[in-house]
Symmetry: C2
Subunit: 192 residues, 2 copies
């Protein structure tokens, strides 16, 4: 059956190969054969687990989103998730995060040409904003927690982090991790 553990595991192996191809060749270099080559296998395996390229990329991106969302928060021994560490988690501060952000940026070209992918992206960003909004409520002083203020701060921070991510991925030398952190901390303190 399609729910078998081995089956699901193999689909995730293929998805991981997709990530590796996207990381060093982008969507423009993503082909069934390239994925198979990355797996040291033939295209038969790819078509066996995915009926089409669109389903393959959809699955790989969705799995990447899940993995990024549930991966263990590294430092921040505090236990409680605060706004700052949640935002830091999305920035490309280490190699793994650099890779996944690189993949997202590459995927936008496909998303803009394909309504199916575009809708998935919009949903993901809406969910991401909702998560940030919950933390912004705790972040703002008690007197400023009206909905409008919360929404505005949330979207401002979300846009800022996204834009910073794009620049850090496109030009890593100009945005080393310390610089990214300093800019985020500066903005957070300016917003209260």
């Amino acid at each position: 059956m399609t729910g078998s553990d081995a089956y699901r595991q193999r689909r995730e192996d293929v998805a991981a190969a997709v990530w590796r191809v996207l990381d060093h060749a982008g969507f423009a270099g993503l082909s069934m054969r390239a994925v198979a080559r990355e797996l040291d296998a033939t295209t038969g395996i790819v078509t066996h687990y995915f009926p089409s390229k669109r389903e393959l990329t959809s699955f790989a991106l969705e799995l990447l989103a899940q993995r990024s969302a549930t991966r263990a928060r590294p430092a921040t021994a505090k236990g409680t998730a605060d706004l700052r560490s949640a935002l830091l988690d999305t920035l490309p501060l280490d190699a793994a995060s650099q890779t996944s952000n690189r993949i997202w940026i590459s995927s936008w070209d496909a998303a803009l040409a394909d309504v199916h992918h575009a809708a998935e992206h919009a949903d993901r960003y809406r969910g991401s904003r909702a998560k940030v909004a919950g933390l912004v409520v705790e972040f703002l002083p008690e007197g400023e927690r009206d909905d409008e203020r919360v929404d505005r701060v949330t979207e401002t921070l979300h846009s800022f982090v996204l834009g910073l991510t794009v620049q850090a991925v496109l030009d890593p030398a100009a945005y080393p991790p310390e610089r990214q952190i300093a800019l985020l901390d500066g903005l957070l303190s300016d917003l209260v």
Copy 2:
């Protein structure tokens, strides 16, 4: 000669066709034949004016950057370029700006897989930041014009506008022009 007016004009016609293809098909849908079709011509004309696809895309993107930089600032009858209107000019507030921003976002996939394009992008963003920095100096109150503060505000605003642009292009319904303007104005007032 390669400097003839007609020659240059024809190269710009081809570049404009590239923009149109990118706008509705992205880099993934950009082929020599698609550009020719957009021109109601054959691939002969494309290869006649550009020796390779890379040179074609480089030229088209560079011309787009120049056009965007020198296009007449619309409203703002004030005459003097201030920070707010400079940032508004880069946001996808109208159809034309939506199109060009869409093209830039699509181009990142190609840029990340191609060092040549990546370097051109990094240069462009550095230049854009430098232009913003000059306006930030006038924007900040006199007491806060130290280099560090100016740089931080510049990069913060630059990242914010870039991230907002990405979201507005990927999900226009969530970010109508009024919302983009409100978010920018909110951030500008929070930064002083």
